[in-house]
């Protein structure tokens, strides 16, 4: 095995910044990262073993223990739960006789939970060895288990169905659906791949591209909404011996899956946008940072990149523009939501823990390998191509005054047609609900767990940067859902699992808040607990990145908009009752010593005599004779 590991390391030129790729390859080879690899890695890459372990332990999909020949990851998003995920887990556990988070004795099958895998419109969904299985039922689980027990390749499993759209392309061959229910200017079929790159790029100066983008008011589609033209301008003007274009396809915000669909249906648009960015900021390298959950797209996307190289759309002197050299590689993540934050993503690409950096300096000044780097969302790159093709004026006419263009929404939860909808900015929530066939809606989670939870009184508000801003995730809950228990709690657990832990605030506070929420959910809460949660959540604003700053939002926003749900659960007696339950607290010790959990300290209050000591037969209280006992003598001499 040693030779094979060294081979992998040298495939990446023993470059420690490529530790992610190296470990992903090792894991492909060994199914986990065995102890003996650490020594080899440590020597070849000149890293301490603890250093390597800190990267491994950061990412959810890396493991130092065997996780089975078949590694089953079951989506634990709130929507997966709503669509019957517990039945799926139960079926796996029952059939295999193991619990979630463990591996069968023969080492064949491991079942694990995982954060949202980007399939909210076709839940319950699971991953087995990088292959996605959607719309699972207990019956399908049993079929899968039979196939796994028979040792079949994941591609040959009986649970199979053609995916829609390009998911049925032989290079993808996934039972995933694109579920595009509304096409707008971005997703429209009027696009001829690479036309702009081939025919127009040579005619336009980099400055003019920046100007056009500024004029278009295009803002980042990942959620933060930074003006794209400005970002590229900063990056173009920053000095560095190399510059980089990074496409952020780490879409981990629960409830969003639009980047998956864009990369499946029109990856050309994204790569063309990246190449244009390369031309504009004078970068020679582009990197698509793709979340591990979408590894099933790897062959398909690499095939497209190869075809682009063959057609001189990547490589040297692209499209006949002398000196325009640009190539793209795909970098996979390994399961860490926080890597969607651009500086954390860069850290991850360097083989490190995905911890966000302090800013300044910003990535446009010092990003990947400390060089100026433009990081943009998948949808943003796609929008750039359309803007340059059709003009900023055309684009500005779409949407609202402050939010130009369209937004690709990922809509899921309680509605008739969960899927992808491209809408102009400015649409109201109510219109959106009518569009997707949502009835008896109790609440909508706008922008994923880090966004806001709104109720019917806010359904006339509109989706745009200045009102309800969103990176694309829209989750609908009907009146039958238990918002606090099944949604807010799930989201809090998500943030706790996904925090990088670097900032004290985000590392500790969400867990403290969840404990308090649980206290309330168990009927032990008092009024003060609500006030506490509101006050405590504020300190999260002092966290470094967006994850930390919004990690209390599920609770804070639900208190703001659904306070009645909390009030219903409160206990009224604030002075005497503080969530402490004496009857519960004595159960364990009574069991251990074998006595009835009956408390009688009545003498305290009414002044009656202590009950007579009734020795229970075996127990005769008498003073033991300690003389001669070694321990006693030892202590006595010390005294």
């Amino acid at each position: 095995m040693k030779e094979r590991i060294i081979e992998i390391i040298h495939k990446y030129h023993a470059d420690k910044t490529r530790l992610m790729d190296i470990m992903l390859d090792i894991q492909d080879e060994c199914q986990y990262i065995p102890e003996e690899c650490l020594d080899i890695l440590s020597k070849e890459l000149v890293l301490s073993i603890a250093d390597i372990e800190q990267t491994i332990s950061f990412y959810h999909f890396f493991s130092q223990k065997p996780r089975g020949k078949y590694q089953v990851y079951i989506n634990q998003s709130a929507v997966a739960y709503m669509m019957g995920q517990s039945d799926i887990i139960e079926a796996f556990e029952d059939e295999l006789g193991i619990t979630l988070g463990s591996v069968t004795e023969d080492g064949a099958i491991g079942i694990f939970g995982t954060a949202d895998i980007g399939m909210n419109d076709q839940e319950p969904a699971i991953l087995i060895n990088k292959r996605v299985f959607t719309q699972m039922t207990p019956y399908r689980v049993r079929q899968l288990i039979d196939d796994m027990k028979a040792g079949k390749d994941v591609k040959d499993m009986a649970v199979k169905a053609p995916g829609s759209g390009k998911n049925s392309d032989p290079l993808i061959d996934a039972m995933v659906h694109s579920n595009i229910f509304r096409i707008g200017p971005l997703l429209a079929n009027d696009y001829k791949p690479f036309d702009y790159l081939k025919d127009n790029l040579s005619k336009i100066k980099a400055e003019s591209i920046v100007e056009e983008l500024k004029k278009s008011n295009l803002r980042g589609r990942g959620g933060a909404g930074f003006p794209t033209g400005l970002k590229w301008d900063f990056c173009r003007k920053s000095s560095g011996h190399d510059k980089y274009v990074i496409c952020n396809a780490d879409e981990g915000e629960p409830g969003t899956f639009k980047d998956r669909v864009i990369l499946t249906e029109m990856p050309e648009l994204v790569f063309e946008g990246m190449a244009i960015a390369g031309y504009t900021i004078d970068a020679h390298y582009g990197i698509l940072y793709l979340r591990y959950e979408y590894k099933y797209l790897e062959t398909y996307l690499n095939d497209l990149l190869n075809r682009m190289r063959e057609e001189h759309l990547l490589g040297e002197n692209i499209a006949g523009i002398s000196g325009f050299n640009f190539d793209i590689r795909i970098q996979f993540g390994a399961g860490a939501y926080v890597c969607g934050e651009e500086s954390a993503l860069i850290e991850s690409m360097l083989g490190k823990r995905g911890e966000p950096r302090d800013k300044p300096p910003f990535p446009v000044e010092q990003g990947y390998l400390d060089q100026p780097t433009a990081v943009n969302n998948v949808e943003t790159f796609a929008a750039v191509v359309k803007i340059l093709t059709k003009g900023a004026d055309w684009f500005k006419k779409l949407g609202t005054a402050d939010s130009a263009g369209t937004k690709v929404l990922s809509i899921s939860g309680d509605c008739q047609f969960p899927g992808i909808y491209e809408v102009e900015w400015g649409i109201t929530i109510q219109d959106m609900l009518d569009m997707v066939g949502a009835k008896k809606t109790q609440a909508v989670q706008v922008g994923g767990p880090s966004g806001t939870l709104i109720g019917p009184e806010d359904f006339q508000r509109s989706i745009c940067y200045t009102d309800l801003s969103t990176g694309g995730s829209m989750i609908i809950f009907n009146r039958d859902r238990n918002l606090l228990k099944d949604v807010v709690r799930n989201f809090m657990e998500f943030f706790i699992d996904e925090s990088c832990g670097s900032c004290s605030t985000c590392r500790i506070m969400p867990a403290v808040m969840l404990d308090k929420l649980d206290k309330i959910l168990h009927g032990k809460g008092v009024k003060q607990d609500i006030r506490d949660l509101e006050e405590w959540g504020t300190v999260l604003k002092a966290s470094r990145c967006g994850l930390g700053q919004t990690a209390g939002n599920p609770i804070v926003m639900s208190i703001k908009n659904f306070r009645h749900l909390y009030n219903q659960l409160l206990n009224r007696d604030e002075l005497k009752y503080n969530g402490f339950n004496l009857e519960e607290a004595i159960q364990e010790s009574c069991q251990v010593v074998g006595r009835e959990p009956v408390i009688d300290h009545g003498h305290l209050k009414n002044g009656r005599e202590r009950p007579e000591c009734k020795a229970n037969g075996t127990h005769k209280p008498e003073c033991p004779d300690l003389s001669g006992h070694k321990d006693f003598e030892h202590r006595a001499t010390n005294l």
């Binding site: 000149v46 073993i49 332990s57 670097s502 590392r507 470094r544």
Partner: protein
């Protein structure tokens, strides 16, 4: 020497060399901004968030943000001081900070900040953490229950090849600082001494050392942390 610029903290006019981090520039002007993870001379990490200030209305960590001309900094204001107190309290409840039995008591930065902020009781429930204590190194003991993840040891205790003796493991609430087992074995006296010294709490202790300064003479027994800076 680089250019001198003007800025102000809570209305007080200050001057500093351009590019100096706010926390240091404030210190030069007799203004104390509390820190835990910061160590002068090492690249700042901004992980404890104690030194958070408002810069032109935005929350920033003053150990990582350079001053610039005309900057308006808010430091000693209710909102910020409340955040800082909350952070101290969060750290207390997240570990086992039982001061009466700690070797660092009296010389502990976290405790000193709690004194400064008159923390009578943390507002958050205690978690009573039960994490491992690593005594595998011949020279030091590493008590994870007292660690506040400031990353000081990770950044400061480095061997000749630039490798750190300490690193992070896991993430989020499960984050821990671990010692490289093999490197811990060959740690020398000076490195061990420095590790204990640099740890702002009692998470890294040199073996056979502790309680060597009488109560009343320890670092923060008589004077609050930061009082040496404030004029």
């Amino acid at each position: 020497m680089s250019k001198l610029i003007k800025f102000n903290i809570d209305g007080q006019e200050c001057m500093a060399e351009e590019g100096r981090y706010i926390v240091d520039a404030a210190k030069d002007n007799g203004v104390y901004i509390p820190t835990l993870c910061n160590i002068p001379g090492l690249k700042p990490k901004g992980s404890c968030r104690m030194c958070t200030v408002k810069v032109n209305g935005r929350l920033m960590t003053s150990c990582t943000t350079p001053v610039s001309d005309g900057m308006e900094i808010e430091n000693h204001i209710e909102e910020i001081e409340n955040y800082r107190k909350m952070i101290v309290e969060l750290m207390f409840v997240s570990g086992n900070h039982f001061c009466p039995s700690c070797e660092k008591s009296g010389s502990c930065d976290l405790q000193a900040l709690a004194y400064r902020y008159q923390m009578m009781v943390p507002r958050f429930p205690y978690t009573f953490s039960q994490k491992d204590v690593d005594g595998s190194s011949p020279l030091i003991i590493k008590d994870q229950n007292r660690c506040i993840m400031c990353k000081r040891c990770i950044r400061a205790i480095i061997d000749n090849e630039g490798r750190s003796f300490f690193t992070f493991k896991n993430r989020g609430i499960k984050l821990e600082v671990i010692m490289d087992k093999e490197m811990g074995q060959r740690m020398n006296e000076a490195e061990a001494e420095k590790a204990m010294e640099i740890c702002p709490v009692g998470a890294i202790l040199k073996k056979e050392k502790g309680y060597d300064v009488p109560i009343g003479q320890r670092k923060f027994d008589m004077k609050p942390i930061g009082s040496e800076i404030e004029n």
